[in-house]
Structures are given as structure tokens and as C-alpha cells.
């Protein structure tokens, strides 16, 4: 029987982390060199963790599926990274950052974790600057800040529209330094297929070498997953095409509870879907909403060119509905408002599924040069894809699947419900409740990687120093390897007609329609049936080219799609069981008279952590009740 214990330290909120740091067990330097840590995923989170763990003296074996850590999906983050530096003297503080995240997450995150994330944010910026990350600066030579959705202070550090790239490259350079120092061994082009558990403890992983097709065993005293998010469940999303749930799912099947799986953020400003061949929806950073104004025509089906539509015929619907925050309302609110306008027939473009994001006024006020300075590369990217020049005509945007607040359940030490198995970064559920604020993920990812995990993992490893290096000949490795091989054989044996991508696209459409921006009981129940049918069809008709011992991209995709079916079913179960609206999870049955999300704190102020019970069985719900001792639960209003 699993019992959830978040292990939140005693004491006042602001002192919990420092007290905890004082009380965790330490591993002496000589012993660290005898301990092996498996780290799967070297995005911003994993690269930061690898560099810190290496500096501390542990032996790290790090894995990623790309050819180099530098290509992880973190590279695509555009807008920025938050920290409570208060360099602007605008009243920011660790507490305010904490409060904004808790409120932005619609009161569905754990206070202690969020406070800690806010607390280490300042150290993270110091670290990244020291590593040579060229953040934007003012003429004075000091760091520049901008504001981001859902908050009223300027606390976002940025490097043009390429903040994620610069942060990742900074962390990757630290990882490289540890590789050179011999503390980290890098295994690129590997897919993690399974976790090996010995006597209840995570002790290793099974991987497939994506070049040779070999199945490999790797052992360690602890296993850390930093494998990112699964927003690709919708097929079309703002994520990289390789982003997947497989590693987290393997952990889940081996006993790690999965928390709030249906909390997926739909980002309001992405390029719209233009045709049926499209494989991704490119994000247009939220920072654009600082200067861009969102509108649709007031007249249904208005066919005039946007620049020909006079002011009086434009509906700046965010400014109209939310005068206090205007275009800077949080993502969930902005996304639903766009969907509402388009569903009501006011959408623009060929499909009617987009709205305008207009820079005319900003360019008039600040000049083209100033706008180019802030968003040059985003404007260029938009121009290349759409063929329209956003300096001259408004951008067309629409919401798209973007970020998974849900993920593996972890306690305050970032350990999952499997002993010795940790989850960090987007792969865990910890900080963003039911909705993430902009620029909060890079902050969480680097903070957990550089400063939190390296300390909390010591508490566990201190108890492992007497355990000799784990042998990969253990029977549990045998069993896990065989299971991995069998799954590959099974996929190849189907020998059907449809490609894995065809199934992924079809699955994504079901999830988008029924478990996307707006959900209701009837739709979710329908989706459950459709997903099950599609999964059955997959196992009868998928086609995987049979080249097992070679680079085989179709096999990689098929394995991922097979796991997407699992998480899809769990998302639906989770969404069905939460009959309130909160953050990104909008249940039509639970709304206020003016169409805003209605939370039901008396019944749902908990983290839903699901226990795997078998492929075709409903999963078992465990609740972690959320206690709010420092903030008052309030209706989230941006009006």
C-alpha cells in the first residue's frame, strides 16, 4: 500500500529550505566517488544537475536521445527566465514570486516547493551569468528585465527570443566541463526503455543504442529522470517532435505515481494550424503580449484585410474582458478567450481558427528599431513560416499544447514513490499547480538541477555508501532487458499498414478535441472509448520497418506512440475525476455565470497521484491534500 508523504520540512515557510539543507545527510567527498548516479535527460534540468553532481564528485552517467545535449527541447524556450532579484525596485521579492506562482497555478501546488523554487531563482541567475550566458543588458551595463503574463512586476531575464537556447548552452558547457574532468560520462543517442528496480530501489536502466540498435544495461545507486514534458500527446504542439512520455511512463509502470496528468497548458500564442501536413505549431513567445494587442473583428466573418479594419470595428477582447491585466492575463485565460471568440464565429484566417496579435501601436510609439531589438528573431521566424511580415500586418495566432504541469509525483526531496528514483524539471509535477506562469519553467528547471537535487539526493545516497557498485548481471536486469526486447519484437510483428505517425496524429486529434482547452464529462467518456479503439487498431495495424539492429526511426516513434496511449487514458481518467475547473483544466460543468473557471476548494484542493494497476485497468487514485498555511485561497481574478 503506497502512502504519500511529501516530507515537507517543519518550520516557517521562508526557513524550510535552509533548515532542510542543514539537516540533510551529507556524503563525504571520498565516498561520493564510489557512488554512481544515472541521469536520464540532459536538457536544461539534466545538464545543470550533471554539472553540479559532477562538481560534487559523484560519478554521473548521463543519457539523451539526441546526438548532443545541446539539442534538448529546452533550447526552444524563447521568452525568459524569472528571478526575484527586484533589480527594478518594483516591489518584487521571493514572497511575491512565490505568491504569483501559487496564484497563477490556481492554488493546486505545494507551498513549500514553490517557495523554494522562488528562493533559489536568484542564485540561478547568478550562476548562469557566471557561466557566460549573454542575457540582455541595458546601456548601463546592468541586466535588463521584462514583464511576463499574469504578474505585475518586471522580473524576467531574457536573451532576445532565445533564452532557452542560451540557458541550455550555459548548462551544457558546465556538463562538458565535467565530462572533461571525467566525472560525467555522456551516452547520447540512447532511448531509455525501462527502469530496473532491485529490492524496491531504483538501480539502473535499460537503453537502446539508437545507432546500433543494441539493448544495453546501465546501473547506478540512484536514478534521476529529467526527461521533459509530454505536450506532444496532442501530436501538434509547440514541443520538439521527439519530446515524449516514455521514460516517465516506464517509471510509472514500475511504481512511481503520476500526478495531475491532465494538467496540460495550452499556450495562447502559437502559429495556427494551416494544413493537414503540418507536424508542429511554432510558438510565438508570450513576451510578445507585452507590446502586441490581441483582437478580432467586431463583425462576424469580416473579410477585410486586418489593416483595413478601423479601430471602431475591432474587438480587443482581452482588454475588454480583463481591464486590470489586459493582454497580459495568464495563459489559460488568454487561450480560452481566443477559443471563445473563434467558436463564436469571430475568428480570422482561412480556417477561422486564429486571432490577430497586432504591433501597430507599439511600433508607432516605440519605433520599429525598438521592437526589432526585443523580438527580431521571433518576427523573422513568423515571417518565414507564414509569409506575412509582422512589422506590417498583424500576426495570426491560436492556442496550442505547450507544457505539462502534470508529471511524476515527487516529495520535497524530488524523489518519486520509488526509492532512489528522482524526477526533476518538466518531468515532475511539483511547482506549477494547474497552470504555469511564463518564464517559470526555466527557473524551476535550472534551480532543481543546479541547487536542489544535488543536495537532496545526498540525503538518500548517504545511506548507500556501503552498497558496492551495482552489477548489471542481477536477474532484475535480465527481466527488464527481456521485457524491452519483447516490446520491440511485438511492435515489429504487427506488420500492418499505417505508420506510427498516422496513429499519433489521430490520437492527438482525439485528445485535443476532448481533453484539450475545454473538457466535459460526455466528451471525456467518448474520448476514453475512442482512445481504446485506436489503441487496439494500433496493435493490429501499425507498420514498423524491421531493422532491429540499426538506426530505426520508425521503431523509435512506434515505441513512443505506444506509451502515449497509456498516458492518454490516464489523462482522461484524471480529467474525469476532477469535476472542478482549475487553471488549464476547464470543466464546462464548473464555471461562473460570466464563463470563468470555478474552482471547488472544498472538494478538490489536492494533488491527484495515480497508481498504475495494469494496462487495461483503471488506475488507483491517491490524494495528497494541499495545505495552505501562508496564502489565502482566493478566486483568481484578473479583471
Amino acid at each position: 500500500m503506497i502512502k504519500l508523504d511529501a516530507k515537507i520540512p517543519e518550520g516557517p515557510l521562508a526557513e524550510k529550505w535552509s533548515r532542510h539543507k542543514r539537516s540533510v545527510k551529507l556524503v563525504n567527498p571520498a565516498n561520493k566517488a564510489k557512488l554512481d548516479i544515472i541521469l536520464v535527460g540532459t536538457g536544461l534540468t539534466g545538464s545543470a544537475a550533471a554539472s553540479s553532481l559532477g562538481e560534487l564528485g559523484y560519478n554521473v552517467k548521463a543519457f539523451c536521445f539526441q546526438d548532443s545535449p545541446r539539442r534538448a527541447h529546452s533550447v526552444a524556450a524563447q521568452g525568459g527566465i524569472n528571478a526575484a532579484k527586484n533589480y527594478r525596485n518594483d516591489g518584487d521579492s521571493v514572497y511575491r514570486l512565490f505568491y504569483d506562482i501559487i496564484k497563477g497555478g490556481d492554488f493546486r501546488a505545494r507551498e513549500a516547493n514553490v517557495y523554494r523554487a522562488a528562493e533559489v531563482s536568484n542564485q540561478t541567475i547568478d550562476q548562469l551569468v557566471a557561466n557566460g550566458v549573454p542575457f540582455a543588458r541595458e546601456y548601463s551595463g546592468y541586466l535588463d528585465n521584462r514583464s511576463f503574463g499574469g504578474v505585475q512586476v518586471s522580473r524576467t531575464f531574457y536573451a532576445k527570443g532565445q533564452t532557452g537556447q542560451q540557458c541550455l548552452l550555459g548548462a551544457y558547457s558546465g556538463l562538458n566541463r565535467q565530462i572533461t574532468a571525467g566525472k560525467v560520462t555522456m551516452y547520447p543517442r540512447r532511448d531509455m526503455l525501462d527502469i530496473v528496480i532491485i529490492d524496491g530501489k531504483a538501480r539502473g536502466i535499460i537503453t537502446r543504442n539508437l545507432v546500433t540498435g543494441e539493448i544495453e544495461r546501465h546501473s547506478g545507486h540512484a536514478v534521476v529522470l529529467a526527461t521533459g514534458g509530454y505536450g506532444t500527446i496532442y501530436y501538434l504542439s509547440t514541443l520538439a517532435l521527439g519530446s515524449n512520455v516514455s521514460a516517465a511512463w516506464a517509471a510509472h509502470k514500475k511504481g512511481a505515481l503520476f500526478a495531475n496528468p491532465s494538467f496540460i497548458q495550452i499556450h495562447p500564442t502559437s502559429l495556427p494550424q494551416l494544413n493537414d501536413y503540418q507536424c508542429k505549431l511554432t510558438l510565438m513567445s508570450e513576451s510578445l503580449r507585452n507590446d502586441g494587442r490581441i483582437w478580432v473583428p467586431k463583425i462576424k466573418g469580416d473579410k477585410r484585410q486586418p489593416n483595413d479594419i478601423p479601430e471602431e470595428d475591432r474587438d480587443y477582447y482581452l482588454e475588454r474582458r480583463y481591464p486590470a491585466f489586459g493582454n497580459l492575463v495568464p495563459r489559460d485565460v488568454a487561450s480560452r478567450a481566443a477559443k471563445e471568440r473563434c467558436d463564436a464565429g469571430f475568428g480570422v484566417g482561412k480556417t477561422g481558427l486564429s486571432v490577430y496579435l497586432d504591433f501597430k501601436d507599439a511600433i508607432k510609439k516605440q519605433g520599429k528599431k525598438a521592437i526589432e531589438n526585443k523580438y527580431g528573431n521571433l518576427f523573422e521566424m513568423y515571417h518565414k513560416i507564414s509569409g506575412d511580415n509582422p512589422y506590417e500586418v498583424p500576426m495570426r495566432i491560436y492556442p496550442a499544447g505547450h507544457y505539462t504541469m502534470g508529471g511524476l509525483w515527487v516529495d520535497y526531496n524530488l524523489m518519486t514513490t520509488v526509492e532512489g528514483l528522482y524526477a526533476i524539471g518538466e518531468a515532475n509535477f511539483s511547482d506549477h499547480g494547474a497552470n504555469r506562469l511564463g518564464a517559470g519553467s526555466l527557473m524551476q528547471c535550472s534551480g532543481e538541477g543546479y541547487f536542489i537535487l544535488p543536495i537532496t539526493i545526498g540525503d538518500y545516497l548517504a545511506g548507500q555508501i556501503k552498497t558496492p557498485r551495482i552489477s548489471t548481471d542481477h536477474p532484475e536486469f535480465e527481466v527488464a532487458e527481456k521485457a524491452a526486447r519483447d516490446k520491440i519484437k511485438k511492435l515489429m510483428a504487427v506488420n500492418g499498414k499505417q505508420t506510427p505517425t498516422t496513429f499519433h496524429r489521430r490520437l492527438g486529434k482525439i485528445m485535443w478535441d476532448y481533453c484539450g482547452m475545454v473538457r466535459n464529462e460526455e466528451g471525456l467518456k467518448k474520448a476514453a472509448v475512442l482512445v481504446k479503439e485506436l489503441e487496439e487498431e494500433f496493435w493490429k495495424d501499425v507498420k514498423v520497418v524491421d531493422t532491429e539492429l540499426e538506426l530505426n526511426q520508425e521503431l523509435e516513434k512506434a515505441g513512443r506512440v505506444a506509451d502515449f496511449f497509456g498516458i492518454a487514458k490516464l489523462m482522461i481518467q484524471d480529467a474525469l475525476s476532477r469535476k472542478e475547473s482549475c487553471g488549464a483544466h476547464f470543466r464546462e460543468e464548473s464555471q461562473t455565470p460570466d464563463g470563468e473557471a470555478k474552482r471547488i476548494d472544498s472538494e478538490y484542493a489536492y494533488v491527484a497521484a495515480w497508481e498504475y494497476a495494469g494496462d487495461d485497468k483503471p488506475q488507483i487514485l491517491h490524494r495528497e491534500d494541499l495545505k495552505f498555511e501562508n496564502v489565502e485561497l482566493k478566486e483568481r481574478s484578473y479583471k
Binding site: A48, S52, E55, Q66, D67, S68, R70, R71, H73, V75, A76, K85, Q123, D126, Q127, V129, A130, N131, G132, P134, F135, A136, R137, G141, Y142, L143, A159, Q162, Q165, L169, S173, G174, N176, R177, M186, P188, L241, G242, L274, N275, Y277, C279, K280, T282, E380, M381, K384, I385, G387, Y450, P454, K497, T502, K543, V545, T547, E550, L551, Q553, E554
Partner: protein, 252 residues
């Protein structure tokens, strides 16, 4: 539109590759270039054949995974564009498109259009970092950096490591790639501390890995999807010579 594709097929690193010609109907100009290849692969798989392997991840020009030689040009030759950003509007009905992997002895072919670019990682490991342990950093605003310098550092730091510079160069030189990293750190006070060792180690590693010399043809700059400038190479040369002289002074 209907097009003809001439694609390099190579089973693995050990086997010999060759061009194979395919006809592809029903291509839409709304597709991106890689969506066209996705569509092509779908038609092959559905007929029971083996799809063409090519590399990608972000599909938005930032991860640096994609990189194809198209009609003789790295990334297809459009200005500051990665292969995944290339659109089929650039082509017309009846076109023949030749697609090859990067050609460089430092980037061996793994399969079809995928090459091994790990040599880039190896160069960076030789010195492409600033030694700053987690926790030891001073306040981020402790050292002001002139905006022009921060901007220059950024412009060099945007390299995505795709390898087009090497593929476009007749000598397979990696100078643009290496100099971009050297320059980024050269502009930052934090990077100056280790500048002397950094440039020497990285250049030495680059030479060991089989990259060629720079003869200033400028092909790398022309094909770089991120607009990394040739001036970086001049800066690296200055840093390198300075480092050599400097280290001799120290030795004597």
C-alpha cells in the same frame, strides 16, 4: 505538384552509399521541406519500403539537428534558413531535388542523411566553458557588461551547432563554429580569465579531429543559418596569436 527526388541512401557507416531516384506526386506547396520528406517516407513505408533516415527535432530552426545538402547547398541555400525552415514554395512542379548528407571527413555518415557530428561536442569539451562551480557565483549584477559587448557575445552565441559551416567549406574547416564560441567568451569579463588556455585547447582539438584549414572563402558565413560572422574567425586568430605570444612570455 509532382517532383523527382534524388536521395543519398546508405544503410550504415560501413556500407557504401548511392543516389536513388524517386518520383513523388501530390506535394503541396504549403508543406515545409521536411514535411515533404515526412510525406515521402509515409508513401515508402505504406508500400513496405524502408524510409529515408534524416535528423530533426524542434522543426523551428533552433535545435540544430536538421541539416541537409539540397541541390548542392547546405540547408538549401536560402538566406539564414535551416533545412526545417525551408518551405516548398521555393520549388515548383517538375523540379528535381538532390538531397545529400553533410560531406566532411570529420562528420562520418551514420545512415542515409544522418551524420555523426560529435566532433563538435569534443571541441567544446576541450575548453568551451567558464569554470564557475554552482554556488560560487557573485551577484549577477556585480560585474556590469557594456551593452554592445553583451550584444556581440549574444550574436556569437546563437550558433546552433548544425555543421553547415563545415559542410559548405571546401576544406571542411570548423573555424566559424569554434570562433563563435571563442568570441562569445572573449566579449565577457567572466570569459577572459581562461581565454588564453581556452583558445589554444580548442584549436588543438579541432586540428586533431580532422577539420581542415581556413582559406577565407567565406562559404561558411554565407551558409550559416544563424548569421554568424566571419569576423569571429579573425578575432579567434588574434586571440590565438596573442595566447601563443603570451604563453611564450610566461615560459621565458
Amino acid at each position: 505538384m509532382n517532383i523527382t527526388l534524388e536521395i543519398w541512401r546508405q544503410k550504415n557507416a560501413r556500407s557504401k552509399g548511392k543516389f536513388v531516384t524517386y518520383k513523388l506526386d501530390g506535394v503541396s506547396e504549403e508543406m515545409s521541406f521536411l514535411e515533404m520528406l515526412d510525406y515521402f517516407n509515409k508513401t515508402i513505408v505504406e508500400k513496405g519500403g524502408e524510409p529515408v533516415a534524416f535528423e530533426y527535432d524542434c522543426r523551428e530552426g533552433i535545435c540544430g539537428c536538421c541539416g541537409l545538402h539540397i541541390n548542392g547547398y547546405a540547408h538549401g541555400g536560402a538566406h539564414e534558413t535551416t533545412t526545417c525552415e525551408l518551405r516548398m514554395t521555393k520549388f515548383k512542379d517538375g523540379d528535381k531535388i538532390t538531397i545529400e548528407p553533410w560531406r566532411s571527413r570529420a562528420f562520418p555518415v551514420i545512415k542515409d542523411l544522418i551524420v555523426d557530428r560529435s566532433a563538435f561536442d569534443k571541441i567544446l569539451r576541450a575548453g568551451g566553458f567558464i569554470t564557475a562551480n554552482a554556488g560560487a557565483a557573485p551577484d549577477a549584477n556585480a560585474i556590469p557588461i557594456r551593452k554592445v559587448d553583451a550584444d556581440e557575445a549574444f550574436d556569437s552565441a546563437v550558433c546552433v551547432g548544425c555543421g553547415a559551416c563545415v559542410a559548405a567549406c571546401k576544406n571542411s574547416s570548423a573555424m566559424l563554429f569554434v570562433s563563435a564560441k571563442i568570441s562569445q567568451f572573449a566579449f565577457l569579463p567572466q570569459g577572459r580569465v581562461e581565454a588564453v588556455q581556452r583558445v589554444q585547447k580548442m584549436v588543438a582539438r579541432m586540428d586533431e579531429l580532422g577539420f581542415g584549414n581556413c582559406t577565407n572563402t567565406g562559404a561558411c558565413e554565407a551558409r550559416c543559418p544563424k548569421g554568424i560572422k566571419l569576423t569571429n574567425i579573425a578575432r579567434m586568430n588574434r586571440e590565438f596569436i596573442g595566447a601563443k605570444l603570451g604563453s611564450q612570455i610566461v615560459r621565458h
